[in-house]
């Protein structure tokens, strides 16, 4: 009894009563959305209202783009060559002529791409086989870590080292219309940040493709890496085994049914791993190249949401919930719980 007396007297002085705050009492102002049919229907409606116009716009953008794709890997092997790999590996001029017909008027700029299929630029061994230090800094020429086996050539470092650079794509295209050569510019085909920061202005190729096994293209040792845009494009490795990379740009307008003659230097070996090679000419829209997928996807999902909104509306109208019917409760239906 005495005990409680003393404790009550201490209460007054030093109470342990929790201090009230909205935070500790978990009474912070909050909104509590309930998933009501009205809410659900309007959410679906909103999605469809936003998605369908975007889908239409995206589809239009994609349809605006004119694209010519020409697969040439097998056609560019002479008919009498049975061993394609051997053919491509023998040194020498391997030119090949292709003609393309323009299906629709193409407004400049027209982009020239090469497309490789079944080429694993994203393979871990491949992706890692480069040295960013060496590429951007002439003083770091000796940093070749990670570049094996393309790091040294007869004891001297290779610049740029690594498998990526070594396997540089080296097919060449020269395009002409009505025997007039179309100028394909290689300027600004890479990302600006790559040119300015990742590849040094004073880094020059050294010992590149100069011995041992020759991989892909060669580089002019007198041009700094920052101006070797083919290399820069190639070095930004592709995400998937089927990829397209910029070859160049043309600032001419092509008319419908124009015939374009392409003289190909078929040098790059995709035959040993059954890869395809394609030449692509394409214009772009605000959304990029030709791909209906995004537009169709937007339309599909927008339509689906519209359908769901309708379905929920119908259900809501046909079968409104009775007030106070707990038999709907999910666990009441499940007798197995006891």
């Amino acid at each position: 009894m005495e005990n409680t007396d003393t404790s009550t007297s201490t209460v007054r002085r030093n109470s342990k009563r929790p201090r009230y705050s909205k935070f500790t009492q978990q009474e912070l102002p909050a909104c509590k959305p309930i998933l009501t049919p009205r809410w659900v229907i309007s959410a679906f409606m909103l999605i469809s209202i936003v998605f369908i116009p975007i889908g239409v716009a995206a589809l239009f953008a994609s349809r605006d783009v004119v694209e010519i794709v020409d697969r040439y890997d097998s056609e560019c092997i002479p008919a009498n060559e049975t061993d394609k790999v051997k053919y491509i590996q023998t040194p020498g001029e391997k030119s090949c002529n292709r003609t393309l017909t323009v299906p629709k008027r193409m407004k400049p700029p027209i982009f020239v791409y090469y497309q490789l299929d079944n080429f694993y630029q994203n393979h871990r061994r491949y992706v890692k086989s480069r040295n960013d230090q060496q590429l951007r800094d002439s003083k770091e020429a000796n940093s070749v870590s990670g570049c094996k086996p393309e790091d040294f050539n007869n004891g001297s470092v290779i610049v740029p080292c690594g498998l990526i650079a070594w396997s540089l794509f080296n097919d060449t295209y020269s395009l002409s219309r009505n025997n007039i050569t179309l100028n394909v510019s290689k300027k600004d085909i890479s990302w600006k940040s790559d040119r300015e920061h990742k590849f040094g202005k004073d880094v020059y190729p050294k010992n590149f493709q100069s011995g041992g096994l020759i991989g892909g293209g060669i580089l002019d040792p007198n041009i700094p890496l920052s101006e070797q845009e083919d290399l820069i494009v190639w070095m930004r490795t592709a995400a998937l085994p089927n990829f397209r990379k910029l070859y160049g740009k043309m600032e001419v307008e092509l008319q419908e049914n124009d015939v374009i003659d392409v003289t190909l230097g078929n040098n790059y070996n995709t035959y040993s791993f059954n890869g395809k090679k394609k030449l692509v000419l394409s214009t772009t829209s605000w959304l990029g190249g030709k791909n209906d997928f995004l537009g169709i996807a937007y339309l599909t999902v927008g339509g689906l949401c519209f359908f769901l909104a309708m379905a929920f509306t119908v259900v809501y109208l046909v079968k409104p919930r009775q007030l106070g019917d707990p038999s709907y409760l999910s666990w009441n239906r499940n007798p197995g719980w006891r």
């Binding site: 005495e2 309930i34 998605f51 982009f111 061994r125 920061h197 490795t237 995400a239 959304l287 996807a297």
Partner: protein, 1171 residues
């Protein structure tokens, strides 16, 4: 030297206890021998001999770590978790060539996560450290020479110091009591912190030291103590004191234990025997059993499942990788020549393809490690800290009267509070206040006291008005007026016939006189006189006792002083009618214990007459009454006792006996001998001897005290029952009392069918009388089995009719058999078929056994709630132990997981906090798996397209910061804040609680559903992104999307998807949650920008990715919008359909409420319109 000591020691003992010397010798360990090596030089802690002993200092450390051990020990703790260990291994492997990402990026999240957990540990330990410092810096007076005492800190005490302790101070170490302010060197000690008992214990110093009771007297004091080594036995001590050439034995009676408190004594002097970690209380402290919630155990299983998925994915990937790698080089010709398979490293070497595959397996294990949520544990811990803070801070669970807020002592069980299936509750002090009020008594066959108890009121309600007792009716008004609070605590008795000295006019004043004398004498209370007012209050062992002495005081027998040998009572002299002070010689106290169930004192009255006064439970008292038919009111008393028990009162039978000198002398000798005997059979010996004197008692009457139900208990039990929680009450009460309390607290309801299993049947009693133990147990077992079977048949038959409810009432004896291995299952089955179960007359051990049976038998969550030391076993056995911080000390609270002040707070603790915590944690865990599966599986899908080479889709730092920065905050916010419904609704619809009990929010379907959602979202994100981005130009400038762009875009979609998913699964948004969600998304963009500005050697593929490539491209924005919305549609549709056709209970409630609100609004509007 040692031999001499032993011999002399032996002499001492034989002199004192000659009659039992052989026994003592046999048991008594040899001081100075092994285990008894301690030598304490009193007053010379710094003497050369004392220094050699090298005893620890008095600093007591309760912290888990020290500065030195913190790092290794807490690291070890962290890595004991499987997931963390996994990450440790992958983190270590990350420094090798196996790693698909850079090592630093892999180490950072691990460091953050482990670091956060360690900081939490550190902070907790720091708090403990601060407490330690506070305690160890308390001041105590210590002798410094020449009889001077100065204050010093506790931690500076050394073995051998002589200290002076003042009233109400704690003892700083284990002390040898030398002397006190009393001449006979006694002192009173409260041991609440040790064993939870609130009564005062008497300690007495040796006679030879009692003269050293002033500061100056210690000038000459010099002594040596030889005693046992430190041990954990609180109630034993063996040693000898060497003082001025003599040797004196020491026992536990002279030992003052650390952490107990000096009471009712002005000061004592003591010598320090054990310090610091040698003290008995520290030796005694054991770590409480660590409990893990079932949710977390299930979570571990899910993590194992994820490990399985990761391992199998890695295995599949490795096989494909091996095949394709081998394929690259065929007879010296290279297929994928750009990979230089002819000159490869071990990881990619086609010539050693199986080995490469094996390495690859390790690599992908690291990569797919993102399936395992690294930050899950630490996030849960953070959330739980908040949750326990919410529990501690809840103003609705703060008990004003005792100034006690709720206290979640372990934070890791909060979600378990939402899943309780069975509550096992103690009664006294838990359901009731444990404040006893003397309400009725029966003296000489006449019943006194008009109070109406709550149980009687409940009974009256039950029976309906017509049968209401007239007695109850006529005094209702009286009772109501005094109901608010009895004026005198512990006394709620009103009967003008015996109050104010009127009892002398009753038919049997002699009996009443003895009755009241007994109340004033037969107890162990200590009076405490308030110096200012002269009023007397009492320190008692139990609230019952307090009620008795208070009743005696109020009825004119004021117990006013106790010395070692006397009790003084100011009492009314029936002849003169005046108050006179009488002093009774207190000769013996035959103490109360749970087997004896009675207590007696032997006193010599002033006129020299010897009487034994005895009080005890009816079961033991009636059989000890004299068979001589002197006073013929045994039957009437029995009837009254039954009536009182029906009214939910605790009854005791009071009886006395006159002793003649010869008998007493004989008894006293044997009793003292037994008391001084030390050994296992000591208690039996005492029991045997007391039996001989506590017989042929003459009945005086019976008392009835009421233990009032706590406020709100019936309502709370009602709510909990509505919530579908089964409640078992396990009590030491009698069957009838228990049943009546059951009705009073609405545990039993009128429409329930009672199944009573009891061994109080005539035929069993018949066999018991015969006394063959084997027969008894066989017959009892059979009888119990029979009763259980019968009960089960009843329950089984009525299964078709869910309306019918059963209540099972078992008594302690039957429980012993029912808990046996052969009957356990059957009994449990029966008990589970009943809505309420009451076990009465059960011992603490049975409480724990019953708890274990329910826990293991049902495999559901059990909660035990109790307040006393006898509930500790139960609290530790149950999944959750709740301690009531009430009257009975702190023992229960110390071993509980959550402490609350009142039973009724259980309602809020479970239905609101428990429900929320369960909901939050389970949703959180599901969500964690979801978000990591999205991430991990998108990595897998991409890696599949890199010919399983182990190349991650995302930049290294994107990868490593995912768990820590871009996905954790919103989940933690969910865990801290989410509420499905408000507390008011939680309490209004208790059925909601079943969500947790049935574990609907963490069922395998739900977990797998979330996982499936993760997989499907990952597939959508991957395919939609790649199909839309590849292979055409990505922007108007004709650039195509490389690995960098695809990775960043997918990552952006993932961040959006998981955070939006979070947003639509919230049912409650406050500002902080908004900040967490939108802030995380915004932070991702911010991070991309900042990270993009780092040196390209650091940022690699992320260099200026956002500024230069992504932001200017409409394709990026349209794609991320599309992907993140689309991934949500399946879930959204699913939950919309579910809410429509299979709503969860809380959704149904909310809809109902909003509909009601709308209807009410409409009505209001139309009314307004009409008027």
């Amino acid at each position: 030297m040692m031999a001499r000591v032993r011999r002399r020691d032996g002499i001492e003992f034989s002199k004192l206890y000659s009659f039992v010397c052989c026994k003592v010798d046999k048991w008594r360990p040899e001081v100075g021998g092994p285990g008894f090596t301690r030598v304490v030089y009193c007053k010379e802690p710094e003497g050369s001999e004392a220094m050699m002993n090298n005893y620890p200092n008095n600093y007591v450390r309760t912290t888990k770590y020290t500065l030195v051990t913190f790092l290794p020990k807490s690291l070890f703790e962290q890595f004991r978790r499987v997931a963390n260990f996994f990450f440790l291994i992958t983190g270590t492997l990350a420094w090798t060539k196996f790693a698909p990402y850079t090592a630093v990026s892999a180490a950072i999240p691990l460091i953050v996560v482990i670091g956060a957990a360690m900081i939490k540990e550190g902070i907790e330990d720091c708090q403990r450290y601060r407490q330690d410092v506070e305690i160890n810096s308390r001041k105590v007076q210590v002798h410094v020479g020449n009889g001077n005492f100065v204050y010093t800190k506790w931690k500076n005490l050394k073995v051998g110091d002589v200290v002076k302790i003042k009233k109400d101070e704690f003892f700083p170490a284990d002390l040898l009591l030398l002397s006190s302010c009393y001449e006979d060197a006694i002192c009173y000690v409260e041991t609440m912190n040790l064993d939870g008992e609130t009564n005062l214990k008497l300690k007495q110093g040796l006679e030879v030291t009692s003269e050293f009771n002033s500061d100056d007297s210690f000038k000459q004091f010099r002594a040596i103590v030889r005693c046992e080594d430190p041990n954990a036995h609180l109630y034993s001590f063996v040693g000898t004191l060497e003082l001025e050439g003599g040797q004196y034995p020491l026992s536990a009676k002279q030992i003052l234990l650390r952490d107990s408190k000096l009471r009712n004594t002005d000061y004592v002097f003591g010598a320090v025997i054990f310090t610091g970690h040698d003290t008995k209380v520290v030796q005694n402290s054991t770590a409480p059993p660590s409990k893990r919630s079932s949710l977390e155990r299930k979570m571990d299983r899910i993590i194992y499942l994820l490990f399985l998925i990761v391992f199998s994915m890695a295995a599949i990937g490795s096989i494909f990788f091996g095949i394709w790698t081998k394929d690259d080089l065929e007879n010296g010709t290279m297929k994928r020549w750009y990979l230089r398979p002819d000159n490869s490293t071990i990881y990619f070497d086609p010539k050693r393809a199986p080995l490469a595959a094996l390495c690859h397996f390790l690599t992908t294990l690291m990569l797919y490690g993102y399936f395992i949520p690294i930050s899950l544990y630490v996030s849960i811990e953070i959330v739980k800290v908040f949750q326990s803070m919410f529990i501690n801070q809840d103003i609705h669970m703060y008990y004003e009267d005792a100034d006690r807020p709720a206290n979640a002592r372990t934070s890791n069980l909060s979600e378990e509070l939402g899943q309780v299936d069975t509550i096992l509750s103690d009664k006294t002090g838990t359901l009731t206040c444990n404040i006893m009020e003397f309400v009725k008594c029966s003296i000489a066959g006449r019943a006194y006291g008009h109070g109406v108890t709550e149980v009687e009121r409940a009974m009256a309600r039950r029976k309906g008005p017509p049968v209401q007792q007239t007695k109850a009716n006529s005094y209702d008004h009286l009772d109501n007026s005094g109901e608010a609070k009895p004026v005198i605590k512990g006394f709620n008795f009103y009967d003008e016939r015996i109050m104010n000295g009127n009892w002398v006019h009753e038919p049997r004043p002699d009996v009443i006189h003895l009755f009241l004398q007994l109340l004033a004498l037969c107890h162990t209370a200590v009076p405490d006189v308030d110096e200012n007012t002269g009023k007397i209050s009492y320190e008692t062992e139990s609230p019952d006792e307090s009620a008795f002495v208070v009743a005696a005081r109020e009825l004119g027998f004021e117990f006013c002083q106790r010395t070692q040998t006397t009790i003084s009572v100011r009492e009314l002299d029936p002849l003169s009618g005046e108050k006179i002070r009488r002093v009774y010689q207190l000769l013996n106290i035959l103490e109360f214990n749970s087997t004896r169930k009675r207590m007696s004192v032997i006193v010599r009255q002033e006129d020299g007459k010897l009487i034994l006064l005895s009080k005890g439970a009816d079961s033991v008292m009636f059989e000890r009454l004299t068979k001589k038919k002197g006073w013929d009111f045994e039957d009437a008393t029995k009837a009254h006792v039954n009536e009182y028990a029906d009214a939910g009162l605790r009854t005791l039978i009071l009886a006395y006996r006159e002793l003649d000198e010869e008998e007493y002398k004989n008894f006293n000798q044997r009793f003292n001998a037994a008391k001084n005997a030390i050994g296992a059979d000591r208690d039996d010996l005492i029991e045997e001897i007391t039996e001989t004197i506590e017989k042929d008692l003459v009945l005086l009457g019976a008392t009835a005290v009421e233990d009032k139900l706590q406020n709100g208990v019936p309502e709370c039990i009602d709510k909990l029952a509505q919530a579908g929680i089964k409640i078992w009450v396990i009590t030491g009460d009698k069957l009838e009392t228990a049943i009546n309390i059951g009705f009073a607290c609405r545990l039993l309801r009128q429409k329930m069918k009672q199944i009573i299993i009891s061994l109080e049947t005539p035929d069993i009693q018949e066999i018991e009388k015969a006394g063959d133990k084997l027969d008894i147990s066989r017959a009892s077992a059979n009888s119990v089995l029979h009763q259980i079977t019968q009960g089960w048949q009843m329950v089984d038959v009525s299964k078709e009719n869910p309306e019918e409810e059963f209540a099972l009432i078992v008594d302690g004896k039957s429980l012993t058999y029912a808990l046996g291995a052969d009957m356990k299952d059957m009994f449990l089955k029966l008990a589970l078929g009943c809505s309420s179960v009451i076990c009465c007359r059960s011992s603490p051990k049975q409480k724990a056994l019953v708890t274990r049976m329910v826990k293991l038998g049902t495999r559901k969550t059990t909660l035990a709630i109790g307040d006393g030391a006898n509930d500790v076993g139960m609290l530790q056995e149950a999944d959750i132990g709740i301690g009531i911080s009430g009257v009975e000390g702190m023992q229960a609270v110390m071993s509980s997981d959550v402490a609350i002040a009142q039973f009724c707070y259980l309602e809020r603790l479970l239905l609101v906090h428990g429900h929320w915590c369960y909901r939050r944690i389970s949703t959180m865990i599901c969500y964690f798996f979801y978000k990591n599966i999205i991430f991990g599986f998108s990595l897998f899908l991409y890696e599949m397209n890199t010919s399983f080479s182990g190349q991650p889709a995302y930049n290294d730092w994107f990868l490593s910061l995912y768990n820590v920065f871009f996905s954790s905050l919103p989940v933690i916010a969910l865990g801290v804040f989410d509420q499905d419904v408000s507390p008011k609704i939680c309490l209004k619809y208790p059925m909601l609680y079943q969500e947790g009990v049935q574990n609907v929010l963490f069922s395998w379907t739900r977990i797998l559903g979330w996982m499936f959602n993760g997989f499907s979202s990952a597939i959508m994100i991957y395919f939609l992104s790649t199909k839309a981005l590849e292979p055409q130009a990505f922007n108007a400038q004709g650039h195509t999307a490389g690995r960098d762009i695809l990775g960043a875009t997918m990552y952006t979609s993932v961040v959006w998807a998981i955070n939006l998913q979070m947003a639509i699964s919230f049912s409650y948004y406050n500002a902080i949650q908004h900040i967490c969600i939108w802030g995380t998304i915004a932070f991702w963009y911010f991070f991309m920008v900042v990270y993009g500005f780092l040196n390209p050697v650091r940022s690699t593929t992320a260099y200026k990715i956002f500024i230069e490539s992504l932001a200017p491209s409409p394709a990026f924005w349209l794609l991320t919008l599309f992907v993140s919305i689309t991934t949500l549609i399946p879930y959204f549709t699913f939950s919309a359909i579910k809410a429509k056709f299979f709503p969860m209970y809380h959704q149904w409630i909310l809809r109902q409420i909003s509909k009601e609100g709308r209807l009410a609004n409409k009505e209001n509007r139309s009314r307004d319109h009409g008027s």
